[in-house]
Symmetry: C2
């Protein structure tokens, strides 16, 4: 019996990253989940990440603590109101206020360190097409440039180093719509009731149903012809 | 009077990064220092970084706390003995045990976030030629790949974004010997007595004089025909 290949999966506990876990497992990887406690206003997503790690049988789940608040500059880490009630057509107009400076660059850098210490050559990140317009660090050319840099950064990039293998950054959701993602996850048996996507949940974890993340998620389930199993405020019409 | 250009300088409080601060200032930049509390065994270097920030009049000095110990894997963050008494010829044979996985990738990622929130388009990092053989993430092709990735990662990389300027990563020490660095710093008025380079200092900050970092530093001063002003254990012959 050969040892399973290891993959680090960036795990926020939301729809996309949880689907990434299912895809990595379906591709035969032993999954090492990496979540961040980065001073986000709600730790509800870390609870969701821990539920996903437990339920989906991850080999290891690490929560790395980083404090992006020392730099300021985003709704997810500072005291700026999360925008509500925008429809999808208006989300891509600007870089969202929920943008965290250099977030994916920082997250992938930690994933790189984790992968190196675990002997993993694969990293999964759940960026997807809907994010392109708003978040610069979700685009395919950014991911490709990151992978190139990463392969120069680590031991395996050094001539004569023992490790010959190179690092691959997987973005299995990059061309999928939210409906595609929901369908993919459900076909792989994902239980989306343990996930959370809301930017502004109630203290008990109930999703607001009004922020951009809730809108996209609900639309995804609707278009997939499925019902989102998480609880929403006002038990809104789905 | 025009506003000064801003630069983020990665500041460990050692010889190289302190010289970088002096070079950035000499090039007309207002300097934003960024240090890391990354679970290193000695916080003596953070004290040195704070002294440098104060003495050299930085616009701002931020210490970002990150915990690389969750991943394991290095003498600087774990309980592995720091190698002693190696001469320079043997330092490049292997990747040093003082290697921190993905360290510069993580440090530069935070620098990118800091630069973005401060409106800086320039980052200085004190990597230099002597580090090439041992540390993969000190090589010029790595830095070039990082810069390319960084320019795709941030708002300025987005078509139609307000910020037109692009990010430059400066490595002014990259081709210098330690003696060159000492000469450059002294010519710019750097007071090296406030810096520290030792991997394994005494509790009072006295350098051990025996680790790789001490060896390189002492050799640099010796070859520059100068005396290193920091205190060494046993007041060793310099």
């Amino acid at each position: 019996m050969t040892e399973k290949k290891k993959a680090v999966v960036l795990l926020s506990g939301g729809l996309d990253s949880t689907t990434c876990v299912a895809i990595a497992k379906a591709e035969g990887f032993e999954v090492y989940g990496l979540s961040f406690d980065y001073g986000q206003r709600h730790t509800i997503e870390l609870d969701a990440a821990a539920r996903v790690a437990e339920t989906m049988g991850l080999a290891k789940h690490v929560i790395a603590k980083i404090d992006l608040r020392v730099f300021g500059g985003s709704a997810l880490t500072a005291d700026i109101d999360v925008p509500k009630g925008r429809d999808e057509d208006h989300m891509g107009d600007d870089i969202p206020v929920t943008y965290v400076p250099a977030r994916n660059t920082i997250f992938l850098s930690f994933a790189l360190a984790f992968a190196e210490t675990q002997g993993a050559n694969d990293i999964f990140i759940g960026v997807n097409a809907l994010d392109f317009s708003g978040y610069p660090d979700c685009r395919p050319d950014y991911i490709a440039a990151y992978q190139k840099m990463a392969n120069l950064a680590t031991r395996s990039g050094v001539e004569g180093a023992k490790t010959e293998s190179s690092l691959t950054i997987h973005t299995p959701l990059i061309d999928l719509t939210k409906a595609d993602i929901v369908r993919t996850g459900l076909s792989l048996g994902v239980d989306y009731s343990i996930t959370t996507s809301c930017y502004d949940p109630l203290p008990d974890g109930t999703s607001c149903g009004q922020c951009d993340a809730c809108h996209l998620r609900l639309k995804g389930f609707r278009e997939a012809g499925e019902r989102d199993p998480v609880a929403y405020k006002n038990d809104l019409d789905r």
